[in-house]
């Protein structure tokens, strides 16, 4: 598979109240964004255990994104704060383990930001395409 043909797989762990709704809005508003994203709804970005990210990356995802409410807007008051603190450490962990930290993103997308969701996915897909397949994904490499 040549690089230009590479279609990255993105796992998006989205907060129920903001980003998931935002993604919904992007859909109902018929906004265009790449089909590379596979969304997974959690109640809050704070629910995302970094192990999920690591697990996804090691099981074939080329990129993982966590989507949460803007800081201060968390439906659960503070979930996104703890999510953010974890994400920073996770990035470092990934980097020191030899995984490009750009494969992981934490984005604040509110329920009304369908356009932002589409935009972020577009950007993320483009970036991942440039990065190429996840080297941990042996299957993809083999294919």
């Amino acid at each position: 598979m040549s690089k230009s043909e590479f279609e990255p797989r993105i796992v998006a762990l989205l907060c129920n109240w903001c980003t998931y709704t935002g993604a919904d809005l992007a859909g109902t508003a018929r906004m265009k964004y790449p089909p590379n994203v596979r969304t997974l709804r959690v109640m809050c970005s704070g629910r995302v255990d970094p192990a999920f990210v690591i697990f996804a990356l090691q099981n074939g995802a080329d990129g993982v994104m966590i989507g949460g409410c803007h800081i201060g807007d968390c439906h659960y008051a503070k979930g996104n704060y703890s999510s953010r603190r974890r994400a920073v450490i996770l990035k470092d962990t990934l980097e020191s383990l030899g995984i490009d930290p750009r494969r992981f993103r934490l984005e604040w997308i509110s329920a009304s930001e369908g356009d932002k969701f589409a935009e972020v996915i577009k950007k993320f897909t483009k970036e991942l395409k440039e990065l190429g397949p996840n080297p941990l994904n042996k299957g993809a490499q083999d294919a």
Binding site: P50, A51, I54, F55, Q58, N59, I71, K78, Y81, S82, R84, R85, R86, A87, V88, I89, L90, K91, D92, T93, E95, S96, L97, G98, I99, D100, R105, L106, P135, L136
Partner: protein
């Protein structure tokens, strides 16, 4: 120093200030943790052998201090502590694993040689130093130079090679004082498949390192325990630096300071974090 410590411990025991003192016992070249309650036994007390007193006792997965404390509730227990012992004590007390109130810490510092063996950045108790002098620690991992020059791909390759040595003995986990969970999540088959070598994907190591990001007390036990010499603490050094930089937090330094990753009680201005994402 040893004699001074023995005298001190004798005084403590004689004055009944403590019920007993947890320290390392040596006899005939063997050494093991021991709860000294009689002053005569103090002749067997040793300080030159490293034995982290606070890692979990298998298979109870409880540390010695906790066990002692639950045996004799309300009684004061002495512990002869190196820097790493004290840090472990503090971290465990934050996590409810020991009760600091009833512990008399008799701290003593390690010498430079010992620090080098453990790659210890702070080879002395920061709060309860009673014996010995603070010596300069080792703040860089012995393989840091080699590792830091690698690019992302190089790092990946580096780890691929290192982890391929792993024999899934869980020694690193067992030796770790911070690993006190009753059941380890990482034993799950999805992270560590049984019966196969080498490790196909090193999720276990990833997650363990991440879990200890803001809790690792730099005792070096994991690397000492690892039979395959995997430089596990390379990652910990990176993460600890990050935590120190972001929150001015070093695990085990202050029993009052809460772990920034595990609390959201205080809302700080963390807009700067966004830039790191």
């Amino acid at each position: 120093m040893l004699n001074k410590i023995r005298d001190y411990c004798r005084d403590l025991l004689e004055s009944k200030k403590v019920e007993g003192i947890l320290a390392v016992y040596t006899e005939n070249g063997n050494y093991f943790p021991y709860f000294f309650t009689k002053k005569e036994e103090l002749n067997n007390l040793c300080i030159d052998k490293k034995y982290l007193l606070l890692n979990s006792v298998k298979p109870l997965r409880e540390n010695l201090v906790f066990l002692l404390q639950s045996k004799m509730p309300g009684k004061r227990i002495g512990i002869l502590a190196r820097g790493c012992d004290e840090r472990a004590l503090f971290e465990l007390s934050k996590r409810g694993q020991v009760n600091l109130d009833n512990i008399e810490t008799i701290g003593y510092s390690c010498n430079e040689e010992q620090a080098k063996i453990c790659t210890c950045p702070t080879p002395y108790p920061t709060v309860n130093l009673k014996f010995g002098e603070k010596v300069e620690g080792v703040s860089e991992h012995k393989r840091w130079k080699e590792f830091s020059q690698l690019d992302i791909e190089g790092k990946r390759k580096f780890w691929e090679k290192e982890f391929s040595k792993c024999i899934k003995c869980f020694g690193c986990r067992n030796a770790c004082p911070i690993c006190f969970c009753k059941e380890c999540l990482m034993e799950d088959r999805k992270f560590v498949k049984g019966g196969e070598l080498p490790v196909e994907i090193p999720s276990f190591h990833f997650v363990q390192r991440y879990h200890h990001a803001a809790q690792c007390i730099s005792c070096g036990e994991c690397e000492i325990a690892c039979p395959m010499d995997i430089p596990l603490r390379l990652i910990s050094f990176v993460l600890l630096n990050r935590v120190k930089k972001l929150y001015d937090y070093t695990p085990g330094m202050n029993p009052k300071q809460e772990c920034p990753i595990y609390t959201i009680k205080e809302e700080r201005n963390e807009e700067a974090l966004d830039e790191l994402l």
